[in-house]
């Protein structure tokens, strides 16, 4: 048990390192950015040099770089991400408000994508030419089509032509359908490819032969015996998946004009609202690292062989 704890502690430490690294990169970026943050903050409003100097001192920009960095990290440790230039609100508060819709979208998209991949892989793994060819073509297309295009197409077809779903905003479940489908389409191809590959490998194993000999039906065999083996490699995709979901939200929320972290990030980049960008980057890095640890724990629960062999 102490081995597990030590492993978890080590993973948490390296996650903290990643977050600190991300924060440092973001800070370095802010420091390197051409242009004066105070000017950006004041916008076009006319300001006397005294006011500029006052704001500068207020924000600590008159201090040397090392002091600013130490303050930045110190504030970060207490959860203070600074204030947004554009919204004049604490970044933490802005992001907390936007976290809900984004999680909703990511979770719905992930569930839908996984369900689609399970269906595709279970029905086509190890089959003869035609169904596999059709599934491969579908996978190749969804892997290659950029999320914003499928999103815009779905939006045009189902919202503007058929008027099934609202075209913009976040108004309950109906407005979640198209964004979630778009998100699902961007991950279903990769999932299904990996899943089928692993299932085909499992289908060659002796235990399948023995199950068939016992008279297990084809569907039961696939769902009960082979699928479990197929699911394992999916967990190794976790890093890619979380990354795809994170970057997917940026584009998809913009396409569907949904509130959320991604859209806030895109807007903040356009308006050069660097505290917000930094906040999203730090939060995303933390979420990414923690989710990866969670996946590793789940991996050990799914696969009994790994429980005794800790890395």
């Amino acid at each position: 048990m102490s081995g597990v704890l030590r492993w978890l502690l080590r993973r948490l430490l390296s996650a903290a390192l990643v977050v600190a690294g991300a924060a440092t990169v973001a800070f370095a970026g802010m420091a390197l950015t051409p242009g004066d943050p105070v000017r950006t903050l004041l916008g076009t409003s006319p300001a006397t040099p005294e006011v500029v100097a006052e704001v500068r001192a207020d924000l600590g920009y008159d201090q040397p770089l090392a002091v600013r960095y130490a303050r930045f990290i110190g504030r970060l440790c207490t959860g203070d991400l600074g204030d947004s230039y554009q919204l004049q609100e604490p970044v933490g508060q802005v992001l907390a408000e936007q976290l809900g819709p984004t999680l909703e979208l990511a979770l719905a998209g992930f569930t839908l994508g996984l369900a689609g991949a399970l269906l595709l892989a279970v029905s086509t793994a190890g089959r003869r030419r035609l169904p596999v060819r059709a599934a491969s073509l579908f996978e190749l297309t969804t892997v290659s089509a950029p999320g914003f295009w499928t999103g815009v197409l779905l939006l045009g077809l189902f919202s503007f032509q058929l008027r099934f779903f609202p075209a913009a905003g976040d108004t309950g479940a109906a407005s979640l359908v198209l964004p979630a489908v778009t998100m699902a389409l961007s991950i279903v191809g990769t999932f299904s490819q990996v899943l089928r590959d692993a299932m085909e490998r499992a289908l060659d194993q002796p235990f399948v032969l023995s199950a068939r000999a016992r008279g297990t039906g084809e569907l039961a065999l696939r769902v009960r015996h082979v699928l479990r083996h197929g699911l394992l490699p999916l967990t190794t995709l976790s890093g890619w998946t979380i990354g795809a979901l994170l970057s997917g939200t940026v584009v998809i929320e913009t396409v569907f004009s949904r509130p959320g972290l991604g859209r806030v990030l895109a807007a903040a980049i356009t308006s050069r609202d660097l505290p917000v960008v930094t906040g999203v980057v730090v939060i995303a890095a933390a979420a990414f690292s923690l989710l990866n640890i969670l996946v590793d724990v789940v991996y050990r629960i799914i696969d009994p062989r790994l429980r005794s062999t800790l890395p």
Partner: protein
């Protein structure tokens, strides 16, 4: 904390199946060396894309920036193959002219990543234990970070524009290359001829330059072709968000973003640039997988 990036799992599906008695058939076996019809189409489309990128005037039907408000928002017909946009510009010609920017973003950023990755990993290999460990820690941190987010951060710092988008995607792709080059070089270092060169007294730098790099590059080049498709999607995503090439430029992602405002009246504005983009990425994925199948000897036997 290292989660290997999955560049394109498409490659996996298109790599030859591993040998298994159940599936073996002479026809399938001989098909390995032949150019299958899908592949022939892919290479053909690639040739067309390259032509459009190098010499768009050969394929255009009218100048891409020719404004003709009278004929704005036309549906596709014999004159305007893909219709016209809100300013009456010919979408077909704009799509043709957009190829250059799109391919430039994809190929350029991957090339940048390749150079950066090779440089950084050379530094790690030649610099000794301390440098190696430092460089690889930094690489790990960057790898443990979704690529698109890194690209967005870089754009946030540098500001929008074609060149900056290219740099952003290149920087976010580079860590993967650094790791791969280093791994390959370390593997090659163990082989007999490198050991022989060391024993014969060749200086470390020369061994690195003459033996390690050339022999570790082929699999890296294969990864590069596979990555171009991903980089193109990332590039057009950036320009869709308004962070790529500036307004009048014909770039597929930017055209799509403009067309979004006319979804209910003119579908051609969004359908064709996206179709071009998707076909381009499919082509690159298929061609990349084919190259990988032909040149990357180790991927022939199952997956790594």
């Amino acid at each position: 904390m290292t989660t290997a990036p999955v560049p394109t799992t498409v490659a996996r599906r298109f790599s030859p199946r591993r040998f298994s008695p159940r599936r073996f058939s002479p026809r399938r076996f001989s098909a390995r060396g032949r150019l299958r019809p899908g592949l022939a189409i892919a290479w053909g489309v690639l040739a067309l894309l390259v032509l459009a990128a190098v010499w768009p005037e050969a394929l255009e039907r009218r100048p891409p920036d020719h404004v003709d408000v009278v004929h704005a928002l036309r549906s596709p017909d014999a004159t305007y193959w893909f219709g016209t946009d809100q300013l009456g510009r010919d979408i077909y010609s704009r799509v043709v002219h957009g190829t250059r920017l799109t391919l430039l973003l994809g190929v350029g950023s991957v090339a940048l990543a390749l150079v950066l990755g090779t440089f950084v990993s050379s530094l790690a290999i030649l610099g000794g234990r301390a440098v190696d460990s430092l460089v690889m820690r930094v690489t790990d941190v960057l790898l443990a970070f979704p690529g698109m987010l890194l690209a967005l951060l870089v754009v946030a710092i540098l500001g929008p524009g074609t060149g900056n988008a290219l740099i952003a995607i290149g920087l976010s792709t580079a860590p993967g290359f650094a790791r791969l080059v280093r791994g390959e070089a370390l593997a090659v270092r163990e082989s007999g001829f490198v050991q022989a060169a060391v024993v014969l007294g060749r200086p470390t730098g020369a061994v690195h330059r003459d033996h390690l790099l050339p022999n570790s590059l082929p699999p890296v080049l294969v990864l590069a072709t596979v990555n171009i498709g991903t980089a193109i999607i990332a590039g057009s995503s950036l320009s869709f968000l308004g962070l790529g090439p500036e307004a009048p430029a014909a770039e597929w992602g930017a055209m799509l973003a403009e067309g979004r405002d006319f979804l209910d009246s003119a579908w051609a504005l969004t359908v064709f640039p996206g179709l071009a983009l998707t076909c381009c990425v499919i082509t690159l994925n298929v061609v990349g997988a084919d190259l990988r199948r032909r040149f990357d000897g180790r991927s022939r036997d199952g997956d790594r």
